[in-house]
C-alpha cells in the first residue's frame, strides 16, 4: 500500500461509529448521523476491524490476512469510507 497515504496519518473507525460482523461482511452504524453503512466484502470488513489508529495500513493489511493483490482496491474502499466519515484519520505519529 502507498506509503504516501500512511505518512498523512492513520485510519480508525470514527468514535461515533459501531461495527458488527455479518455473513456478507459487516454492518456499521453512525450514532451521530444515524446512518447505516453496509460493507459487502469480507476482506474489507476484516481490514476495517484491524484499523487501530496507530499502525500503518500495510501492517493492518498483513494482520488482517487480506492478500496483497487486493491492496489497491482496499485502499480505494477505505478512502470511500473516510469520505463518508465512517473512518477518521488520527494525527501523524511523531
Amino acid at each position: 500500500m502507498s506509503t504516501e497515504v500512511d505518512r498523512s496519518g492513520h485510519l480508525m473507525l470514527a468514535p461515533s461509529v459501531a461495527m458488527r460482523p455479518e455473513g456478507f461482511g459487516a454492518l456499521l452504524y453512525d450514532f451521530h448521523t444515524r446512518r447505516l453503512t453496509f460493507i459487502k466484502d469480507s476482506d474489507l470488513a476484516t481490514l476495517v476491524s484491524c484499523l487501530d489508529g496507530h499502525s500503518t495500513l500495510e501492517s493492518a493489511r498483513l494482520r488482517s490476512g487480506v492478500p496483497e493483490h487486493r491492496a489497491s482496491e482496499m485502499l480505494q474502499a477505505l478512502a470511500n469510507l473516510e469520505a463518508r466519515g465512517t473512518l477518521v484519520r488520527t494525527a501523524r505519529d511523531a
Binding site: A18, G23, F24, Y29, F31, I39, A77
Partner: protein
C-alpha cells in the same frame, strides 16, 4: 460497497441481529388513534418490569443492536421510561422513540438536547388540527406542536415528524414538509396498515390509486430529504424504485417486542400467527436466532400469483401484514397493488388476538372524499 439492491439476497436469510427493532414499552395510551397499529389504550397488567427490561437491554448490547425504536402505546407514560432510555444509551444502544408529545415539557426537551444517542419522533397525522384531530383525537395537534416548539427552543437537533399517510391527508404533503422545516425537523412518512385498529378504518382511509400515484411522484421528487422507513416499497412498481430496502423485512431485518415480552415478526404483525416467542420463556438473542416463526420467514418465499408480474422484482408482492389483515393470501399481491391485482380475492379478515382499546371510536369519513368504486380500482 455494493448498492442496497444487491444486499437483498443476504437480508432474505436474516441478519445476526435486527437492524430495526421496535420495542413497544406499554399498551397504555392517553390517545385512542383510530388507526393504532397495536390497538393500545389500557396498560396490560402483565407488562414487563423495569428489571426485566434492563436485562433485555443488556441482551441487545451483547448482540450489538445499534438502536431501538421505542413506542407503544405512549411510552412516556411508563414511570421508568426515562431510566430505561438512560440505561440503553449508557450501554451503547441508541434510542429513537415515538411519542404524541404530551410529556415533552420544556425541561424534558432540554434533557434530551444534550444526548447524542436519542432521537425523537413526534406523531402527527394532519398538517392542520382539523385533519389531525379526526384521527388522533381532540387537542392532539396542539400537543404535538407544543412538543416541537419545546424541542426547537431547547436546541434539540433534527427531531422527526412522523406521519401516517391517509386518504384525508395526502393533499397536505407540501404542508407537512413546511411544518417540519419550520421546527428544524425531518419529515418521516409511513404507510397506513390494516393492523390493530387500523383494520377498522382501512377501507375508508387507505389512499386511492390516484393518491398513490401522487404520493409516489412526491416521494421520488423529495428523494432523501424525506424519510419513509422504507414502507412504500409497494409503490416502486409504479416506475422509479424508491430509496431504501424494497422488500419485506419481517423477521429478517426487523422485529417487534411488545409490552408483555412477546416477540413478533414486525411492528405491523401483532397477531398470534407471527409471534416468535416471549422474553419470559427465552432470551431475545435465542428467539431471534432460533424461533421457528423467524426461520420460516427467512426461507425463500414463492412469488405465487405475483410471479408472472413484471414489477415483482421491485415490489416483491408488498407487505405481509397488509395482506394478512385484509384476508388476502400471503403469496399473492398486496391489497394496494398499484397494478390493481390486490382487489376482489380476499377471504375473511382474521380476528385480532391482542386488543387493549379503551373505547372504540366510530370514524366517519369526510363527505367530500370520493368513495365510488372507480376511485378504488383502476379496473372498476
Amino acid at each position: 460497497m455494493a448498492a442496497t439492491s444487491l444486499l437483498i439476497d443476504n437480508f432474505e436469510s436474516g441478519l445476526s441481529a435486527p437492524i430495526c427493532l421496535t420495542w413497544e414499552l406499554t399498551y397504555a395510551c392517553n390517545l385512542q388513534c383510530v388507526h393504532c397499529l397495536s390497538s393500545s389504550g389500557r396498560r396490560d397488567p402483565r407488562e414487563l418490569s423495569t428489571r426485566e427490561w434492563m436485562s433485555f437491554i443488556d441482551d441487545l448490547r451483547a448482540i450489538q443492536v445499534f438502536y431501538v425504536n421505542i413506542g407503544g402505546g405512549e411510552p412516556t407514560l411508563r414511570p421508568d421510561f426515562w431510566d430505561l432510555v438512560s440505561h440503553a444509551v449508557g450501554n451503547g444502544v441508541g434510542v429513537k422513540f415515538s411519542t404524541n408529545g404530551s410529556r415533552l415539557t420544556a425541561e424534558r426537551a432540554s434533557w434530551l438536547a444534550v444526548s447524542d444517542y436519542i432521537d425523537v419522533q413526534i406523531s402527527l397525522d394532519g398538517a392542520t388540527a382539523d385533519v389531525n384531530d379526526r384521527v388522533r383525537g381532540e387537542g392532539s395537534f396542539r400537543t404535538a406542536i407544543t412538543a416541537l416548539e419545546n424541542l426547537a427552543h431547547a436546541g434539540f437537533r433534527d427531531p422527526k415528524v412522523s406521519v401516517v399517510m391517509t386518504r384525508e391527508n395526502i393533499h397536505q404533503l407540501d404542508d407537512f414538509k413546511e411544518l417540519a422545516d419550520r421546527y428544524g425537523a425531518t419529515l418521516r412518512l409511513t404507510r397506513l396498515r390494516p393492523s390493530g385498529r387500523g383494520v377498522d378504518v382501512w377501507d375508508t382511509l387507505h389512499p386511492t390509486p390516484d393518491q398513490q400515484r401522487e404520493l409516489h411522484a412526491w416521494l421520488v421528487a423529495a428523494g432523501s430529504s424525506v424519510m419513509t422507513g422504507d414502507s412504500f416499497f409497494h409503490l416502486s412498481a409504479l416506475g422509479t424504485a424508491l430509496d431504501g430496502l424494497n422488500m419485506c423485512g419481517a423477521g429478517r431485518v426487523v422485529c417487534l417486542v411488545d409490552p408483555v415480552g412477546d416477540v413478533y415478526a414486525c411492528p405491523f404483525a401483532i397477531h398470534e400467527q407471527f409471534r416468535a416467542g416471549n422474553l419470559r420463556d427465552s432470551d431475545f438473542p435465542a428467539i431471534w436466532r432460533e424461533s421457528p416463526t423467524f426461520t420460516h420467514l427467512r426461507e425463500p418465499s414463492p412469488a405465487g400469483a405475483c410471479g408472472s408480474c413484471s414489477a415483482f422484482d421491485v415490489c416483491r408482492g408488498g407487505c405481509m401484514a397488509a395482506k394478512f389483515f385484509t384476508g388476502l393470501p400471503m403469496d399473492g399481491p398486496d391489497p394496494e397493488c398499484v397494478r390493481g391485482h390486490g382487489l376482489g380475492t380476499a377471504g375473511p379478515r382474521p380476528a385480532p388476538t391482542v386488543d387493549h382499546t379503551r373505547q372504540r371510536q366510530v370514524f366517519i369519513p369526510l363527505p367530500d372524499i370520493p368513495l365510488r368504486p372507480c376511485h378504488e380500482s383502476p379496473v372498476a
